[in-house]
């Protein structure tokens, strides 16, 4: 398959090469078909597109800025670093792009309730926000571990009127929140839409979420052309499920000279086994309705993942990334917790921008890519979210709490 064909993926059955597809209970198949049709009809409808674009512009704050990070770039081999500022969107991350699309679709399908899984809470907050805006009932499933490390976002969701249900089984993180959301959906599908937050799950989710996030790369491509008169040398993003990354990459896939880099959560290091670097350290299997790379043992049991970042702490990855990995179009590497936190601090101190810890993985990757490509390179970094939610983790990591020594 050629890279040109990437624009036409997935195929009609939701496959990106051998990845993706639909491994779902029969009870959901009718709803997945209904959603596919509703989505295709909606995006072909000028009125739907106009309403979505209006919300993106007047509510989410698009287009997001492209900010040059000169002092940070000096630390990245002198490369020209351009930050795609998804952190400036309403609710503080790229997640709102997808959620507004799916929330409008929910209303269009005549459904009155929306459910979501969330890791860091960014997708949950975005969903709760859109639900409040459109008058939908909202339930968010969140691993109990994550409700503790992202307590601020739990409070935000509740303020917005959503019910947050802590998930207490399995590893009590994102994957278990997904399981619980699927269990809810099987029983409630008649009146409920499951607003999946990343480019994952059974078809049509990986395609639909990608399409709603595509705007990141479309804007960035125009902005960088306007600013520099040429395409960038590289586009860099963090990858958990992979929605900000596919959003940033997609418009650049046909530009074969633009290198695409995804940075996964390396936790304590891939060799330690304590990580969430699916594409670097995983193998192909089936999880949450899709065929993709995942972290599993010899019996196909999902392995526990580890990351300082709740949003990247997931054992699978969107199927389109698996396809980009195998075709070699994109390169995926792991960034450890410490590298990510160092980059987190560096951006704060050089640019006055506090990134999400998820996005800090992309920043750490940009430091690496900058060293590799040198001072003539232009690198677009998707700054997928802001770090307010991470202050608790950062305060502990760096010892910012009164009476304790600072690590900075």
């Amino acid at each position: 398959m050629t890279i040109d064909a990437a624009r036409d993926l997935p195929d009609l059955t939701g496959h990106f090469g051998r990845f993706g597809g639909r491994f779902a209970p029969e009870a959901l198949m009718a709803a997945l078909d209904e959603l596919t049709t509703a989505y295709q009809t909606a995006v072909a409808d000028p009125a739907f597109r106009a309403e979505l674009n209006h919300l993106l512009k007047t509510y989410a704050g698009r287009p997001s800025l492209l900010t040059e990070a000169k002092r940070f770039g000096a630390e990245a081999g002198g490369a020209r670093i351009l930050l795609k500022r998804e952190d400036l969107n309403h609710t503080g991350s790229h997640k709102i792009n997808n959620v507004l699309g799916q929330a409008l679709l929910t209303r269009r399908m005549g459904k009155t309730r929306i459910i979501a899984e969330t890791g860091a809470g960014q997708h949950g907050v975005a969903t709760a926000t859109a639900a409040a805006l459109l008058g939908l009932e909202c339930v968010v499933y969140m691993g109990e571990v994550d409700t503790v490390r992202q307590a601020l976002n739990v409070a935000r969701m509740r303020m917005l009127g959503a019910e947050v249900i802590p998930v207490k089984n399995g590893s009590r993180t994102l994957k278990d929140a997904c399981n619980e959301a699927f269990r809810d959906w099987v029983a409630s599908v008649q009146h409920t839409h499951y607003c999946i937050g990343s480019t994952m799950g059974p078809h049509p989710f990986p395609m639909m979420v990608r399409d709603f996030q595509r705007i990141i790369g479309v804007e960035a491509r125009e902005q960088v052309l306007e600013l520099t008169g040429k395409l960038p040398d590289a586009v860099v993003a963090c990858v958990g499920g992979g929605s900000n990354a596919i959003g940033a990459f997609h418009a650049f896939i046909p530009d074969e000279d633009v290198r695409l880099y995804g940075f996964e959560a390396g936790g304590a290091g891939v060799d330690s086994g304590k990580h969430a670097a699916t594409l670097v350290g995983g193998s192909v299997g089936v999880i949450h309705g899709m065929r993709t790379y995942l972290l599993q043992d010899d019996d196909g049991q999902t392995l526990e993942t580890h990351s300082v970042s709740a949003g990247l702490d997931y054992p699978g990855v969107g199927p389109e990334h698996s396809w980009l990995r195998d075709t070699g179009r994109a390169t995926y590497q792991a960034v450890t917790d410490s590298e990510a936190m160092d980059a987190f601090a560096l951006l704060c101190r050089t640019e006055g921008i506090i990134p999400a810890i998820e996005s800090a993985h992309a920043l750490a990757g940009a430091l690496r890519v900058g060293q590799e490509l040198g001072p003539d390179a232009t690198i677009v970094v998707c700054l997928s979210g802001r770090g307010d939610k991470d202050m608790h983790t950062a305060a502990e990591w760096f010892g910012l709490v009164e009476g304790e020594g600072s690590a900075l």
Binding site: T13, G21, R22, F23, A24, P25, E26, A27, L28, M29, A30, A31, N169, G170, K175, D176, C178, N179, F182, R183, V186, A187, S188, V189, Q190, S283, G285, V286, I287, H288, G289, R291, Q296, D298, D299, G300, Q301, T302
Partner: protein, 276 residues
């Protein structure tokens, strides 16, 4: 239990035929391998056969059972924590099949995919298993399994749901073998106080989808936990499938022995139900 060359492959269809000849529905019982322990599961399944189950489904414990409610989640978690492996699942199948009961494996797809679909079919067949029930595999993605189940003469039990369209019922029943698993409600596994009113209609629609072909038996599962419900379901389906209620007995019992006694009593109650 090695199958001798030339002997017909065991199929659950014969268990349904036997029940039909006796003018009743078949009783199908589910239990995950390794729960409450390897030996405990074999002993409990054996008790279920002795007390009247016609078919046993051995669950393959999986880390992410997204179609299962809290009861099966607890049991599966216990089995995995106890260190159960796929090879132990095959040993369980072998021990249960040796009782003479038709034995299937119910599994999420990833463990089979990881093991290798053909290798899994081969090892299931040599353990004396009849086939697989696949709750998250639909015909769209089943090509490798259709080939492997043909190669090893295994039953392939797909699910139909209240939300399945007539076209899908035709497609699913068209590739099924052994029996068709009708999910009685929209939701996860677990005991319910009443059988969904749509269940009988689903069984009827499933049968209609097989009109003009040699029809497969239709078993109804999800939510059935009492003799009374079994009798009700037996009034319109060819088989009654019970899972969580057996697990609940084992979870609540003070000892394995007491649990197995309770499982035996429940089986007898259900076996009486399907004969009413």
């Amino acid at each position: 239990m090695e199958r001798t060359e030339g002997a017909p492959a065991p199929t659950v269809a014969t268990a349904f035929e036997k029940a039909r000849a006796e003018g009743r529905a078949a009783l199908v019982g589910y239990l995950p391998a390794g729960f409450p322990s390897y030996e405990g599961a074999v002993a409990a399944a054996t008790a279920m056969v002795e007390a009247g189950c016609d078919v046993i489904e051995i669950g393959l414990p999986y880390s992410d059972p997204l179609m299962d409610g809290p009861t099966i989640q607890d049991a599966v978690h216990q089995a995995l924590t106890g260190g159960i492996r796929i090879t132990d699942v095959f040993r369980t199948v072998e021990a249960v099949a040796a009782t003479g009961a038709r034995t299937l494996v119910m599994t999420y797809w990833n463990p089979v995919d990881r093991y290798g679909v053909d290798a899994f079919a081969r090892d299931l067949s040599s353990a004396g298993g009849c086939g697989l029930i696949t709750p998250d595999l639909t015909p769209e993605e089943a090509e490798p399994w259709l080939a492997a189940s043909d190669a090893y003469d295994l039953d392939r039990v797909f699910l139909v749901a209240l939300s399945s369209t007539d076209e899908r019922l035709a497609e699913i029943t068209g590739v099924s073998r052994g029996f068709v698993y009708a999910a009685s409600l929209m939701g996860v596994t677990g005991a319910r106080s009443a059988v969904d009113t749509g269940a009988a209609h689903l069984v009827e629609r499933t049968r209609k989808a097989m009109a003009g072909r040699s029809p497969l038996p239709v078993g109804l599962g999800l939510g059935v936990s009492t003799g009374e419900q079994a009798a009700e379901v037996a009034g319109f389906a060819d088989g009654v499938i019970v899972g969580s209620a057996f697990i609940r007995r084992l979870l609540d019992a003070p000892s394995l022995e007491a649990g197995i006694d309770a499982v035996r009593r429940l089986t007898a109650e259900l076996a009486d139900g399907v004969r009413r």
